[in-house]
Symmetry: D2
């Protein structure tokens, strides 16, 4: 659903020859119905894979999907459209893996990042009491990069966070920003982004309690800022922590971090999801945005650099791929997890 945009085209790339999933239908706005995929403007290199080029758009309609034999749906829809159709799809038994924000804060919908909160996938069961399918969302792209970087540090007892982001223009989708606005410029505000970072981050790391998730009580301050890069969200992170960890201890936590069993070997899971560099000039979007293993896990790892620690403070910059780990790749990994866990 929503196969024509920047994230949609990353979904298409990610589904070529996928070992678990077969693409049976592509849906877009009514104006596209009946057109071939390869009539669409390509937004990212390889974004209109030759393998799928001859497929024809269906309308955004659950019956159409079912008639194509769809069991699951990936959603790259704008949030205002996504709410309804994702809900209806789930009711009809289609499990939805969504990049849209519409259902992220629903009490029984997890914001899933398998390395962090695979157990939250249990909410699929909760949802199924109400409808035949379920909805899993991935986090906002900025939240994803931040949460991934916090993953090895969670034992330090985070109290407060002050973050400032350097977000790429692709985060705004297509057409997104006018080139007049962002060429050689910085825009100090991204509509609705800072609240997302605050509320999604604490939910991701929350505990499942019965049928809902109890969020963390971290104090989070965020400035979300657009810079003229194409892909890759950098974040400056300042943490006040409960433990007084030394730099060596924090380095050790990051370098010795290993992802949980649940994700090991999933096609899109990187062997090491949190990379660490001591080069003060890294990470950089141009050089590190595709960090991760070759093939399906390309762009699925985040990179932490410029680590400082001491006196109850941990500081670093982190980079993640907002279109892959922070969008299409994240949702595909969620679906792989659901598949392995027998939820589909």
């Amino acid at each position: 659903m929503g196969a024509t945009g920047v994230v949609g085209q990353h979904f298409l790339r990610g589904l070529v020859d996928h070992p678990y999933f077969e693409l049976v239908a592509i849906c877009a706005s009514d104006a596209r119905t009946g057109q071939r995929l390869d009539s669409v403007k390509e937004h990212v290199p390889g974004g209109i894979p030759a393998e799928f080029g001859g497929m024809v758009f269906d309308p955004l309609d659950v019956e159409a999907m079912l008639s194509r034999g769809a069991h699951i749906a990936f959603s790259a829809l704008p949030s205002d459209i996504a709410g309804d159709i994702e809900q209806r799809a789930a009711e009809k038994g289609i499990s939805v893996f969504s990049n849209a924000g519409a259902h992220r804060m629903d009490a029984d919908v997890p914001i899933l990042i398998p390395e962090i909160n695979a157990p939250q996938s249990a909410l699929a069961i909760t949802q199924r009491r109400l409808r035949k399918g379920f909805i899993f969302t991935n986090a906002n792209c900025t939240t994803t990069g931040l949460a991934m970087a916090l993953l090895p540090l969670i034992s330090l007892g985070i109290r407060k966070m002050v973050v400032a982001s350097y977000q790429a223009i692709s985060g705004a989708g297509y057409p997104g920003h006018s080139a007049m606005d962002i060429t050689a410029n910085v825009i100090p505000y991204i509509s609705n982004e800072e609240p997302k970072v605050r509320r999604e981050c604490v939910k991701i790391f929350g505990d499942v309690e019965g049928d809902t998730i109890r969020p963390r009580d971290w104090e989070i301050h965020a400035h979300c800022v657009r810079v003229p890069t194409l892909v890759g969200h950098m974040i400056s992170v300042h943490l006040d922590i409960e433990e007084k960890a030394s730099l060596e201890q924090v380095e050790s936590l990051i370098e010795n971090y290993t992802p949980p069993q649940q994700v090991a070997g999933l096609p899109s899971a990187p062997s090491q999801p949190v990379l660490f560099t001591r080069d003060p000039l890294r990470p950089q979007p141009r050089l590190d945005v595709d960090a991760g293993d070759p093939e399906r896990a390309r762009g699925m790892a985040v990179t932490i650099g410029r680590l400082e620690a001491g006196e109850g403070v941990v500081r670093f910059l982190t980079l993640s791929n907002n279109l892959v780990r922070g969008a299409a790749g994240g949702s595909i990994l969620n679906a792989e997890l659901a598949c392995r866990e027998g939820l589909l």
Copy 2:
């Protein structure tokens, strides 16, 4: 001194038809001696003013300056060269207004931002006990923008600061960054910049005690980051303050701020040095980098936007012109102040 670089060319622009100062000599590295100014590569529009184009470079030599009748010198030299020659010039009675970092942390040298610490100019007297002239420095370009923005807020009782910068490539001088490194990219580190922000900021707001300056005891955490803009340093600022000021109170402090008497009417002093915007998309380098009054005070004001306050926290983004207020314009304003105060 150092008239060929990016900042040097801004000094030249700023000295055309200056009401207080007359340019009598231009100095550069030995290789330039005897060449005309207009043989130099222009780095900024208007950076080689026609008025001065026929002037011929002298060597970096105090005697040469004196023989041209120089009473004061503006220095846009690299710090490693600046230390010695600035010292020698001051000893011979030339008052030096320097953009270089070499002497900024000397006990008897002020880092002068007239709106903030005009009284520190009294250190000229202290210095004159040891040498015939004196050295006044302006702050590092990033520090300048930050300090200017703090100016109206100082009564709130700053305890701690977490800042992250979005610095333009011109801050690195010429040639500065390779285009390969920074085109559509972010570089998470600027050598030696973060310590400068920390130590200069607390000195600027320090109190003169006898012959030296007692710095503030603020806790400052800074990430200094390069982004692909040409001119204008943006800074994300998070303040922990002692007073629990409301948003309205903080807005009022900024909007009602008026610069001190000492600077009013100086040719390069903006009538309102700290501007405030409620437009969440502002300030932006492209639109706001030249904030300030027309003519000599163009680019001399900073702009604060996205203000938030409450619960002992004040947050905003601020933009300043790193080449004007943060470099050449700042030094010229310092010289204007010294002139008015009868120090020359």
Copy 3:
């Protein structure tokens, strides 16, 4: 008319304190009616002048303009809208100076560049036989820069032209290009631009014959290409000429060119409209886009560089300001000419 866009805001800047004209009304699409000018998003620095900020938008309606006492109108409208309203305004006696393409190829409408074809302004008389006012257009921004550069060379007998452009994103207006498309990229096509260059160029240099203009018979081949610069169209120009001029002869033509009497002293007319540089690295958009005299003629001159000549060929690159000389400034100069010639 059309005061909210990139070109419209340049019109506003150019009309502040204009010695000939007083702004009495601003018109925009109906949705704007009744709003203040300063509620509009600023697209260029100074694009919403404080002097006009409190003015309120009228609808795009000729009666409204007349009721405000408008005698002339500047049009920065999109071409599809401009056709009708410009026509109606002219019928009601308002003289229109338009940046839009709608009427450029009308037989009795000149594409005016005063230094080139001031005599074509006589078509105002022709038009007035049919309607109370008249329409003067300026050329497409790319054509303007090319035509200006050809101006001193016309005596060489141009036979054929092969040009390739490097056009700035502001040429597409606002929002114009998606930043996803043009950041660190080149787009090899600009819709409808190449035909404009071909047909406008030969009309501009055409002779008035009775009530129409006989265009030149030059063979013109153009590639119009977008590059990621903000302002300033560069053009690579290859001319096959009838005369076998040497490099020295061609240089002499350019350097000795003086604009015609009709334009001398007009407020927006540069003293030297065609500048010449021997620096092989110039012109450059960043350094030369504002070429021309200070104040109103800033950005009104074009710059020719990298000149080669010999064997029946003349080659060079030229740069012009697409928003000033190629748009708002050009139309204002046209109005100034009309004013001096007593056509208003």
Copy 4:
């Protein structure tokens, strides 16, 4: 030789797991001797392959290479250094595949583009009469893209060419351009580039006559211009041809072009080296720079777009990867050809 720069790192990437070649030594300037490859600053993603990271730099010394068992050498040296060492290596029996310009115009050295002039590889025999090894060069990056695009059109009888380029900053190597110079800017001159395009192009398509190559007698006019893209040289091409081919005929030539037998199946040879698009917005550097087959032939194809033909004229824009096809990949392909032809 010259493994630390932008092109050098592309050579390293291209040699990972190469089926024909094994990397036995890396050479750089003396200052690097003894350092590990992975101590070098990475200029391109994957430019310091983990497979080679532990290798230690040798000096630029032929004996050192021989002692490592080197049979062939790839050279990414600057031209001023390359001349001597490449000559000495060839004398000692090392066959050199060079990206440097030093020997390109030597009478017995071919500028090899296998799809175009594989027969010129016979000059290896000529060279071996004088020395034990030989030198093959690839063309300048701009020439390469142009020559590849001309390949299917050669039967049209090219008489004259007018080209203007849109060259990426990586073409200048590292550090290459200052970011101050090229950010959001265009530079109308690239030192020594236009003569290279003129003389290399006619040599590439020349005929082997005895021991040398007789160049074509085409008239070539080139403007070589830098634009702010990272990778990918676009060229606007205007051809005057002897035959009066229609658009359909020219399209057919391009679409039906098949590469010669000699290159078929070489690891770095794309199955279709000249791609053609009817989308007027293509090619674009961002989307098409990696055209070619997956793996080793990625970035080895050029793309032609915006084709026009008629009246003795053929016009188009073409894009090629200046670091792959125009540099490291081209040299590796040359070595693969030499290998297959038994010249090694």
